[in-house]
Symmetry: C2
């Protein structure tokens, strides 16, 4: 009992333990309390600790625990477990938790969620599990979710909430407010109401503050705004995110192909998309599979990185073959082998800088035909200027290092050539890939580093062969 006692003494009063430490992580003390409660299978203590947490906090707590504790926590919370928490978890953690729950429980849990959260949880499940859960739902819910699941993956239809408030244009503000006061079938949160014609076609949008500022006898048709940014249900979430961001939207109507209102998107769903899309670019540029998560297993991680490394091996071998062409030259002057990685490395870095700016500018539509020529010229100039600056610097270093100013001149010339090539490749390759409808974030790096390696080695060793060895 000594050990338990000391734990109790150390953790003291649960009510005084902060949930997050100052860096924003779930605090060690809080996790300790939860682990103790789980180990003792103490439902009451668990509920007291985790029963009232915000879904985002409970999600973070779950991800902090060991896998077996994660399932135990959910089991002990029982009915107090809000399934909305599942939308806050990494895919692999969510999948593991769902696997252990009977379909009936899952159906009960998600029937209490907004439709967008329910779809989010269902969409990644294996077909048969999805079907088993849908069968346990009541028919109206089942139809609603099936309709959403019929939209393409990552479309607005998958992300939208299908409960919304819609009124006819001749209703007055007063009638609308009375309806809102009396109806008990309203969505949990909403920011706009929609005006529709008898065929359910969207006529306009009324922001809630507008509704509150207007006198009761005014018809809603008089205060509705034209819905300029209606989203098609089949539209890709990335396009939707661009629209939300560009026009600073909080909420937007989603319509089907006949302009009938079918759902609502809210910016908090889109924030996750914006974050995910930016992250995809970061990962793609580094050659990591776009859906990599820190909770992935070793096998998933190896798989997610293997292809990129394989492609890189190909380009590295290609660069080596260029070196192989000059083996006789190297044999005569080993200093070349010592210095050649510097030329390639500087080119690779300069190329990566240009390429990264270009890839992001393409993704955010800041780079297009209107400024292509100017940016190509700028990047070429930047490559040339940095090339000259580092040529002088490295030329001096090499000349002193090897007591040989010819080697200094050689590396300087190669550096200018390679950094100029790096600037041009860094901008032209993403632009070309974009024109060919290939995602520049995924494919640019390989081509850019191939160019800078091959040009770097070829320029340096080729110049050396011509300069020193030929005569």
């Amino acid at each position: 009992m000594a050990e338990t006692d000391s734990v109790d003494a150390a953790v003291a009063d649960p009510a005084e333990t902060v949930f997050r430490d100052e860096d924003g992580y779930v605090s060690k003390e809080f996790v300790g309390l939860v682990e103790t409660a789980l180990e003792a299978d103490d439902r009451e203590a668990t509920l007291e600790l985790a029963g009232d947490l915000h879904e985002a906090d409970l999600g973070d707590l779950i991800e902090t625990l060991h896998p077996e504790d994660q399932a135990n926590l959910v089991r002990l919370l029982g009915d107090a477990f809000d399934f909305a928490v599942l939308t806050e978890l990494d895919d692999s953690v969510r999948a593991r938790l769902l696997e252990e729950m009977p379909a009936g429980n899952v159906a009960e849990g998600i029937s209490e969620l907004d439709s967008d959260d329910a779809v989010y949880i269902l969409e990644d499940l294996p077909q048969e599990d999805q079907e088993a859960i849908l069968q346990e739902l009541k028919q109206s819910d089942r139809l609603q979710l099936r309709r959403a699941l019929d939209y393409p993956e990552e479309s607005a239809g998958r992300r939208m909430q299908s409960d919304f408030v819609a009124v006819p244009p001749f209703w007055t503000v007063g009638q609308t407010i009375d309806y809102l006061r009396e109806s008990d079938a309203l969505p949990d949160d909403f920011y706009q109401i929609y005006v529709i014609d008898p065929g359910f076609r969207l006529m306009g949008t009324v922001a809630l503050d507008k509704l509150l500022r207007t006198k009761r006898n005014e018809p809603v048709s008089g205060i509705m705004g034209e819905t300029v940014h209606a989203i098609k249900a089949t539209e890709d979430q990335e396009e939707v995110a661009t629209t939300f961001e560009r026009y600073n939207l909080i909420s937007a109507a989603v319509v089907d192909d006949s302009d009938r209102l079918v759902g609502v998107l809210t910016v908090d769903d889109i924030v996750d998309v914006i974050q995910a899309e930016a992250e995809e670019d970061i990962f793609a540029l580094a050659g990591v599979g776009g859906d990599a998560e820190i909770s992935d297993s070793i096998v998933e991680t190896v798989r997610g990185r293997f292809v990129w490394l394989l492609v890189n091996l190909g380009t590295a071998v290609l660069a080596s073959m260029v070196i192989g062409l000059f083996d006789a030259t190297i044999q005569q002057m080993v200093a070349l082998a010592v210095l050649m990685p510097i030329v390639a490395s500087m080119g690779g870095n300069a190329g990566t800088q240009t390429m990264t700016v270009a890839v992001r500018a393409l993704a955010t539509r800041d780079l297009g035909s209107f400024n292509t020529v100017r940016i190509i010229l700028r990047e070429t100039a930047v490559g040339l200027i940095n090339g000259v600056l580092f040529a002088v610097l490295m030329g001096l270093i090499a000349a002193f290092w090897f007591h040989n100013e010819q080697i200094g001149g050689l590396i300087a010339a190669a550096m200018i050539i390679n950094m100029l090539a790096a600037g041009m490749a860094g901008i032209l390759i993403p632009l070309a890939l974009d024109k060919l409808d290939i995602d520049p974030a995924v494919a640019s790096s390989v081509f850019v580093t191939t160019v800078t390696d091959v040009v770097g080695f070829f320029a340096f060793l080729g110049l050396a062969a011509w300069w020193f060895v030929l005569p």
Copy 2:
């Protein structure tokens, strides 16, 4: 006149010209029409084309034009130019446009904006320009803006809107709605109203949908939610973004150190921050200054990239010095010079993959003490597994290439060592930098590639020296 005619014939009817092409860029046709109108100094045509554009669209149009046309467009629009457009422009474009306007005009323009937009435009201006503009404002506006500008850069106080709706707790829903209908000093858009005590201290928040659902005679204190996520005005915008994202907030109250309500933040301002922060990480990882923009000049661009390249030159020279240690070995076997970049390059790529995942996981708080050990072990294992896979592959390639299985064995052994080192450096270096409160996105790359270069060359050439040359 022949040229003008053909332009007119090509561009046809302005009303039929789409603003954006299918890729989301401002269409060439539309830009053509605007350029024609600007060239003819035709105010009416300019107004017809650009007078009613959404601020985001007008912003994109301006960035699409040549610099001299940008200023002309703003001049021709005159009073029809909405200063909110300035918040949509790249910093350098905004600075250029503001430079050419008299302080009086700027003051008039920003006096019509929400306070957060006004601050955004003012904060980057040189001190004396800022002062000149503030002097032209009426006193109440001037005080409000000065107070916001007194908060630290990139704080919630800088980003917040200082107009909001606040009511005492004893007001009923009916009273509140009547107030909203009659007051003409309301902010343009709002999503919550706030309940405050006589000392202006925040007591709670009422979402507008809640207000609309509730009967008139209920006091607002009965329906207000506890404000769990109140933001301190001095809090950094990055922390604010984390809070908004974590708790899916649409809008949040901002309070001063005495918990008095001083402003409101809305998610659309925060979306820009989230986007900018993710972009900063992308750029930092690639060694580009965090505030790089595609509209930067050549000089700004060279400056933004120089430091990184200089640091990289240092690490490249260091790696070369390692090669230099083994020049005698290379002289005896030139194949080593041909193959050695492959070992370094594969290590660099594997290290970058691990590092990128680690940097993002640290930024999103998915990597912390709770899973550090597990992730370090995972990355080490992944490094070892990929190391063995590529060692076999490259060993075979090298053995066939040089008809020498000893070279195959040598590169295989070096590959395993370097990819293991890459996995460990890729995770340990970001973790260590984070512990030291250095931004891992900015500094990790240098250290990781130094490790993979040095270990790669040392393992490969060192093993070769010991294996082939010593005996």
